[in-house]
């Protein structure tokens, strides 16, 4: 089923926001095809009428009051930022 070529690797890399050098695309395609070819043995399992697992334990998500329980931590939030200015995260220019 899977046949990942160079162009597909480049597309996945773009989706994953990871820069991959041109000369690495081909080897990576080989590796991904190997792994995907191996996982495709799942196709032999009959899963008709089987519900996909949504939670591994029988637990209901809890409800809580819709109220603010945390906050006022601007300094803490920005403490590890590679670049913060005027109380905000700073990034390279987005608008031309």
């Amino acid at each position: 089923m899977s046949n990942i070529d160079k162009a597909t690797v480049a597309k996945i890399a773009r989706l994953a926001r990871i820069k991959i050098e041109e000369d690495k695309l081909e080897p990576l395609a080989g590796e991904l095809n190997n792994i995907l070819g191996w996982v495709e043995q799942l196709d032999e399992v009959n899963t008709d009428d089987i519900q996909p697992m949504s939670s591994v334990v029988d637990a209901k998500l809890r409800w809580r009051q819709d109220e603010v329980t945390d906050g006022d931590k601007q300094e803490s939030v920005l403490k590890n930022a590679p670049n913060a200015e005027y109380g905000f995260f700073a990034v390279p220019k987005v608008i031309e």
Binding site: M1, I4, T8, V9, I12, A13, L15, A16, R17, I18, K19, I20, L28, E31, L32, N34, I35, L36, W38, V39, E40, Q41, L42, D43, V45, T47, I50, Q51, P52, M53, S54, S55, V56, V57, A59, L61, R62, R64, K73, S76, V77, K79, N80, A81, P82, N83, F89, V91, P92, K93, V94
Partner: protein, 491 residues
């Protein structure tokens, strides 16, 4: 004077309580031992000053009569648990310089009980690996060697097991996504314990695959595991998947009595090509269980062979989503491109910050979740995962616990499997099924192979029945009488 680093947690606890030793003495001895174990590369950040402060506080607590199982006990913390103000990077370059402003619940529970932090422990990058060779901080060495040849400690909790097996911590936190506690425990002759999914809070744990990740412990024996697990367990409102259940006294479960208990032996775990000595040790384990009065029951877990392929869809899919947060904006590494924009920064940061195995898994995950492939891969895998969980459910209608080998081999040499991702993934063939089903399990050291390397047996229990896993583990430990220690070549 006895070497304080050779004490078990239980022994140290009793001596501390009686006032025969202080946490200060115990901690000083361990700080020296941590420094002497640099050759293992188990610690990637040491916190000796903090440790001494914590030790003094523990001694005050003990004097005041406020004494719990972990009070004054020096431990190591896997690098994926957030520790306030202290190195927390899941051993990835992309989290360079990250010092959290908050504390993980698991570690907070330990500190509330008076435990002492020696430092942060090496691991596979983002817990992706089975040999601790993917860490940005370099590989960990197994205290156990094959003659003069180094071996890997297993992974991803490689620093956790190496520090405990190398007497550079009395216990260590660890985490399991597909076997990252049990497999390295088997490789290093230590006791590894993974609780039921939901037993420990994931708050403050660097996320890999959220539906699988669960904290646990590495200790030198079963009783120590029970003491440390009890400390880190418990409900936490800050994790929506944490389950509100009382935490039993795990140590009290170590009665030594498994008479009449039914132990299941899954026929699908007899792997073709597995070393004969592992098969033999498993058989020996069965005999020990019988001799202790348990009834052995053959069981079937028919979807076992599909567990690994299922895992290698589910885990990378969740990882690709979880690791999307590392973009160079809020914390960690930032790489900019001359004249480039925001997307160039994302792409350059992630290219420089992630190692090869992490990139591979993000790529796989991105692919299986991408438009047109979601049903064929992710949905299919979650259905097979349900079948795997059903297998266990049916088996546990007939048995109280399941006994299997922990890993299909003993520790291997560095580089031996790192060129072939699938060969590396096969390390977790016996541990992944229980992770997919969220079950509690342990690895108990039971013997040595022909090369003198340790081997473990895995014990699995029903959801929330950690007590039975501890009970059976205790009986196994007693029967195996595994007393071998690694030659201390690293000192």
């Amino acid at each position: 004077m006895t070497d304080l680093t050779k004490l078990s947690i239980a022994e140290a606890r009793d001596l501390l309580k009686k006032g025969d030793i202080t946490s200060r003495e115990l901690t000083e001895a361990h700080i020296a031992s941590v420094d002497a174990a640099d050759a293992l590369n188990a610690y990637i950040a040491k916190t000796p000053e903090l440790a001494m402060e914590m030790a003094d506080r523990a001694d005050e607590k003990i004097k005041a009569g406020d004494h719990k199982g972990m009070t004054g006990i020096p431990v190591g913390i896997k690098d994926l648990f957030a520790t306030k103000g202290v190195h927390t990077q899941a051993c990835s370059h992309i989290l360079d310089g990250f010092k959290p402003e908050y504390e993980s619940t698991v570690t907070q529970n330990l500190w509330d009980d008076g435990a002492v932090m020696l430092g942060k422990l090496n691991m596979d990058e983002f817990a992706m690996g089975s040999s601790n060779e993917t860490s940005f901080y370099g590989p960990v060495k197994n205290p156990w060697r094959r003659g003069d040849t180094d071996t890997v400690p297993g992974g991803s909790s490689g620093g956790s097991v190496a520090s405990v097996a190398g007497f550079a911590a009395m216990g260590a936190t660890a985490s399991d996504t597909g076997g990252s506690i049990r497999q390295p425990a088997s490789f290093t002759g230590t006791f590894g314990f993974k609780p039921t999914y939901g037993r420990c809070s994931r708050y403050g744990m660097v996320a890999f695959a959220s539906s699988l990740d669960q904290a646990g412990t590495i200790t030198r024996d079963v009783r120590d595991g029970a003491i440390m697990m009890e400390s880190i367990s418990g409900f936490d409102a800050k994790d929506s998947t944490s389950v509100d259940m009382p935490v039993p006294n795990f140590e009290a479960a170590l009665t030594g009595d498994i008479r009449g208990m039914k132990i299941g032996i899954p026929q699908e775990y007899h792997l073709a090509g597995m070393p004969g000595e592992i098969e033999a040790l498993w058989h020996q384990g069965i005999e020990w269980m019988k001799a202790a009065g348990a009834e052995i029951v053959d069981i079937n877990l028919p979807h076992t062979k599909y567990a690994l392929p299922t895992y290698y869809i589910v885990a990378p899919a969740e990882a690709s989503s979880n690791l999307a947060r590392y973009d160079g904006v809020r914390y960690g590494l930032r790489e900019t491109v001359e004249g480039g924009g925001l997307v160039d920064m994302y792409e350059a940061t992630r290219a420089a910050g992630f190692g090869d195995e992490v990139k591979r898994r993000i790529m796989i995950g991105t692919y299986v979740l991408s438009a047109g492939y979601y049903d064929a891969y992710y949905l299919k895998a979650q259905k097979v995962r349900q079948l795997i969980a059903n297998d266990f459910k049916m088996a546990f209608e007939k048995v109280d616990a399941i006994l299997t080998p922990t890993a299909p081999s003993a520790a291997f040499a560095p580089g031996e499997k790192s060129d072939d991702p699938i060969a590396m993934y096969l390390n977790d063939v016996f541990t992944v099924p229980a992770s997919l089903a969220g079950l509690p399990g342990s690895s108990v050291p039971v013997g040595l192979d022909a090369n003198g390397l340790p081997l473990g047996l895995q014990i699995l229990g029903k959801p929330w029945d950690e007590e039975t896993v501890f009970k059976v583990s205790g009986v196994m430990e007693e029967a195996a009488n595994f007393t071998a220690k690694p030659a201390e070549w690293w000192r």
